[in-house]
């Protein structure tokens, strides 16, 4: 069993590597601005975990990368005080921890649960294949991988951890945290495709991709809104992963995987850009409630420009990088039903991101009058840098993906995308006043697991406290019962 082996990388994986390094550098720089300086080490470890997941040539190294990501993120979250938020703390109450501890604790436990499912999967895989090298998954293991990846990528209804964490951590650590965890989950699924393809993953992911943006539209917290959009985008990556390994020819399978990875590259870039813009806005106004923002277009033109590029890429506007990978994904999708679901997803994402952009920069509230810091250098540098890369990626898709499919980026595709987005934009302008004012702040499903966990925890505590007494009078009975049971088991079986 080799402890560390290096995988060969294709061109799109090399692009992933570059993007991980770039975004990791931005994230580490961002985190190290925070009050705790020692946390830089943890942030670096987080990036290393992400890179390791790309290089990992065997299952155990892959598991190591998951664990490194989880534990380093725990330390990063733990390092910064999370203030109570009006938008409700939905983390299970564990003893008398403060809010920061609770968020970090909750995050770690969920990540370890995902890692344990992954562990079960690789035990099964190893038992059938007798190797820890990454080979085609056996059917018995694929269900466990799907479960692990579904938690790691926060597929609804296992998305509570992502919303509660990303909706609570300070914006500068969010830039780092949002970059790796879910993406590594999706990429792991892309590495470990079963022989006959994943069954059911396509439908799960397509459904999540269709539902999550509409939950995002209902958010008024910027971070939570972007988190739901993130879930939808990662689900789209998983659609690509789920389509690979089907009955089709080998080239089509590879194309699906390439499309998934390509979308991951683009998604990381524009999502980080959006989080950077959100961080700039939050630094400026001091909160992240879209209902009380607006008028920033005057004072933050750079953020607005970067935000427009980010939103455009996120909704798949032509000539930006999000468009290229989304079109490649649509090209891979053959089922019309999934195509419809993806279109629903695009419309919802567009509405949600319009709400983000419109609410922050043009919203009803006037620009803040208080003199707050104008934003730090790293934000001002990284936002246009990322925006530039998003534009270049849109213009030169073959460089990133290594795929030249002229049909995909045809004039017809550009035209239909333009028409769809223009329609959504018009629709948004029609409803913006009522939607910007409305504040439903949906929390659907976020408490589903944490509430269950809290109740389970309470029950277990109660039960375990009950049997703690070492009463010698029950001892004889217990011992006799044990010995008799063992004897009966031994005698009975043979």
């Amino acid at each position: 069993m080799s402890l560390l082996s290096i995988a060969e990388l294709t061109q799109v994986e090399r692009s992933l590597l570059v993007v991980f390094c770039l975004v990791g550098a931005i994230g580490v720089a961002s985190v190290s601005r925070g009050p705790g300086r020692s946390v830089t080490v943890a942030a670096l470890a987080h990036v290393v975990g992400g890179l390791l997941s790309l290089f990992a040539g065997d299952l155990i190294t892959l598991l190591v990368s998951w664990e490194i990501l989880a534990i380093s993120a725990f330390v990063v979250i733990r390092a910064f005080v999370i203030r109570p938020h009006s938008n409700g703390a939905t983390v299970a109450a564990v003893d008398d921890m403060d809010r920061t501890s609770r968020v970090a604790f909750h995050y770690l436990v969920v990540q370890i649960a995902a890692a344990v499912l992954f562990f079960v999967a690789i035990v099964v895989q190893y038992s059938y294949q007798r190797t820890v090298r990454i080979t085609a998954l056996v059917p018995a293991a694929s269900g466990w991988i799907i479960a692990a990846v579904a938690i790691k990528t926060a597929m609804i209804p296992a998305h509570g951890w992502l919303i509660t964490t990303y909706g609570a951590v300070p914006s500068f650590s969010l830039v780092l945290l949002a970059a790796f965890s879910t993406k590594v989950g999706a990429l792991t699924a892309a590495r470990l495709v079963p022989e006959g393809g994943y069954t059911g993953l396509v439908w799960l992911a397509a459904a999540v991709a269709a539902v999550a943006p509409w939950m995002a539209v209902r958010q008024y917290s910027m971070r939570r809104l972007l988190s739901y959009v993130l879930i939808a985008q990662v689900a789209m990556v998983l659609v690509g992963v789920g389509l690979s390994g089907g009955d089709g020819p080998g080239a089509a399978r590879d194309l699906a995987l390439t499309a998934a990875r390509f979308h991951t590259v683009n998604h990381i870039l524009y999502k980080t850009l959006l989080f950077v813009v959100a961080a700039m806005v939050m630094e400026r106004v001091g909160h992240d409630d879209l209902r009380y923002m607006g008028g920033l277009w005057r004072s933050m033109p750079l953020a607005l420009g970067a935000g427009i590029v980010g939103v455009g890429a996120g909704i798949g506007a032509p000539f930006l990088n999000g468009f290229t990978s989304k079109e490649l994904l649509k090209h891979v999708v053959e089922s019309p039903y999934i195509g419809v679901l993806l279109t629903v997803s695009t419309v919802g994402t567009a509405l949600a991101l319009f709400r983000f952009l419109d609410g922050a920069f043009f919203g009803r509230a006037s620009a803040p009058t208080a003199d707050r810091p104008a934003g730090s250098l790293w934000l001002t540098v990284s936002a246009p840098l990322l925006a530039l890369i998003c534009v270049l990626g849109g213009l030169l898709p073959t460089v990133v993906s290594g795929v030249s499919e002229p049909r995909v980026y045809s004039a017809a595709a550009i035209r239909s995308a333009m028409i769809l987005l223009a329609a959504v934009l018009l629709g948004w302008i029609g409803v913006r006043h009522s939607l910007l004012a409305a504040a439903p702040g949906s929390q659907w499903g976020e408490k589903a697991f944490t509430g269950l966990g809290a109740r389970l925890y309470a029950a277990v505590t109660w039960g375990a406290l009950g049997v703690r007494r070492a009463d010698p009078r029950t001892l004889v009975g217990l011992t006799v019962v044990l010995v008799v049971v063992v004897v009966l088991a031994l005698v009975g079986v043979w």
Binding site: V109, V116, V120, G463, L465, T479
Partner: protein, 522 residues
């Protein structure tokens, strides 16, 4: 060198007597005498283990009476692993106790030497009755170690253990009676030659009684109830030794009896599903009890209960294997887990002891800011916790991985799921400790007052009071650091210790070489 096996028992016994005599004359020398005894004995243990690994097993016939009639002491490849565990555990405990100011109590050193005598005897005993004698010696010294502190309910907890242990003794004798009535011999190797002709029911009853008897000692659910209160009552050094070292020797005795004496892999294959169920129950109950546990040493006691479960599960995975080498490969996983648990649990108890001393409280939730107050102890605690939870690349991951893979082969998916569940639960309770330790709370900075800090407020931080922490901090830090780094590095560095472990696994998985060693060599 011919007398090495008996010296392993005689030397610590002699030093125990010497230490108690020195205590009468000059109490300040007690620690030194104990430490000298520990070092000499550890050197002997390591030399013996080295010789066995190099040249093969040794047999010592006490009084030159040959095996079936006389008393034999046997050191084989399986024993040598446990000799190493005793050696390291004893010396480390002695160093830690001296630096934590525990060695001033003369009885502590004497009791440690006595229990080491008992454990060495358990390791080398070649017949069932001598094994019983050493088990009883272990009982007496363990009871005294538990009840050593002069606090209110401590004696009660020692007494509870005594009751449990007496029951353990009764069960053991019952098993011995059954075997003696059937075979007429007590030497383990001699029993092994005739066990195939015994009625299966007799083997089953003997095996069940041995499991129950030794299960009380190593905390087999539901016979674990003595353990958490006892550990809470005992000192941390004693706990570290009892959980990290002594518990392993009881497992050693059980494995020796089951595989060499009763040859259960041939005579009683139904034992392994039973062991699996017992192991899984141990994992679940131990971890769940740990999850609900607010007190430091009790938490570690429950974690120990759970890890006994992992080891039994690993042993149960030999179900259905007929080839010796394959059986050895499976038992290797359980032995690695034994080594891992010995290492990490000792480190954890030491780290907990430092933090408890600093905060004057063993309630986990009062350890706010422990990471800043006791950085070395907390770093060791975190690394050891990662190892014991089984996060790669620590040694704990590899033992868990090997156990999971082999148990999946034998019993399918459910045990693997239970192991996974155990990982999650243990991660929860160690993460809780980490969360409190990392909390930006009010860490006591200077010397701590003797008062308990009830609500975690700052009333306890008063610069200098008479009850201060022991001055010597260096050695415990070195010990904890070493333990943690070994636990971390032994994952990738597992090949370094594999020869010892593989030899032990091979020795326990086949009774024939053992019989040839004891009876053939004469």
């Amino acid at each position: 060198m011919n007398h090495l096996p008996v010296l392993l028992v005689v030397i610590p016994l002699g030093f125990a007597v010497l230490t108690s005599l020195v205590a009468l004359l000059k109490e300040s020398l007690v620690g030194l005498v104990w430490f000298t005894g520990a070092v000499i004995h550890a050197a002997l243990l390591l030399v013996t283990a080295g010789l066995v690994v190099t040249y093969g097993g040794m047999v010592y016939a006490v009084g030159a009476w040959a095996a079936p009639i006389g008393i034999v002491l046997v050191v084989d490849g399986f024993t040598s692993l446990f000799l190493v565990i005793i050696a390291v555990g004893h010396v480390v405990s002695a160093v830690f106790a001296m630096n934590e100011g525990r060695a001033e109590r003369p009885t502590f050193g004497v009791l440690m030497l006595l229990i080491v005598t008992a454990l060495s005897g358990i390791a080398v005993a070649g017949d069932l009755f001598n094994l019983f004698v050493f088990l009883e010696l272990g009982t007496v010294s363990t009871t005294a170690l538990i009840a050593l502190k002069r606090r209110d309910d401590v004696a009660v907890r020692g007494f509870i253990y005594l009751i449990y242990a007496s029951l353990s003794g009764i069960l053991y004798l019952l098993a011995v009676v059954v075997l003696y009535a059937q075979t007429g011999v007590l030497t383990i190797a001699a029993i092994s030659t005739v066990v195939a002709e015994m009625p299966r029911a007799a083997v089953a009853v003997a095996a069940a009684c041995f499991i129950g008897s030794l299960g009380i000692k190593f905390a087999l659910v539901p016979l674990h109830l003595w353990q958490a209160p006892a550990y809470q009552a005992a000192g941390s050094t004693a706990c570290a030794f009892l959980s990290g070292t002594a518990m392993k020797l009881y497992l050693c005795a059980l494995l020796r009896i089951l595989f060499h004496g009763l040859r259960v892999h041939e005579t009683l294959p139904a034992l392994f599903p039973t062991l699996l169920v017992l192991g899984l129950v141990n994992i679940v109950v131990g971890h769940l009890a740990g999850l609900a546990e607010p007190e430091a040493k009790r938490l570690l006691a429950y974690s120990g209960v759970a890890h006994v479960g992992y080891i039994l599960t690993g042993v149960a995975a030999v179900y259905g294997i007929t080839v010796v080498d394959q059986r050895a490969a499976v038992l290797l996983a359980a032995l690695i887990h034994i080594l891992m648990h010995s290492l990490t649990k000792t480190t954890l108890f030491f780290a907990f002891r430092r933090i408890t001393a600093r905060f004057r409280s063993s309630a986990l939730r009062e350890w706010r800011g422990a990471a800043r107050a006791e950085p070395v102890a907390c770093a060791a605690l975190f690394v050891a916790a990662l190892a014991i939870v089984g996060i790669p690349p620590t040694i704990g991951f590899f033992s868990k991985w090997l156990i999971a893979v082999s148990v999946f082969r034998a019993f399918g998916l459910i045990p693997v799921l239970v192991i996974g569940l155990g990982t999650i639960i243990s991660m929860i309770y160690y993460a809780r400790v980490a969360t409190w330790a990392l909390a930006l709370g009010d860490a006591p900075t200077g010397r701590i007052s003797g008062r308990h800090r009830g609500d975690g407020k700052t009333d306890g931080v008063e610069p200098t009071r008479e009850r201060t922490l022991p001055a010597l901090r260096f050695m415990p830090a070195v010990l904890m650091g070493t333990g943690a780094s070994v636990a971390l590095l032994l994952g990738p560095g597992l090949p370094w210790v594999l020869p010892l472990l593989e030899r032990a696994a091979l020795a326990i998985s086949d009774a024939e070489p053992y019989i040839a060693l004891v009876l053939g060599g004469g």
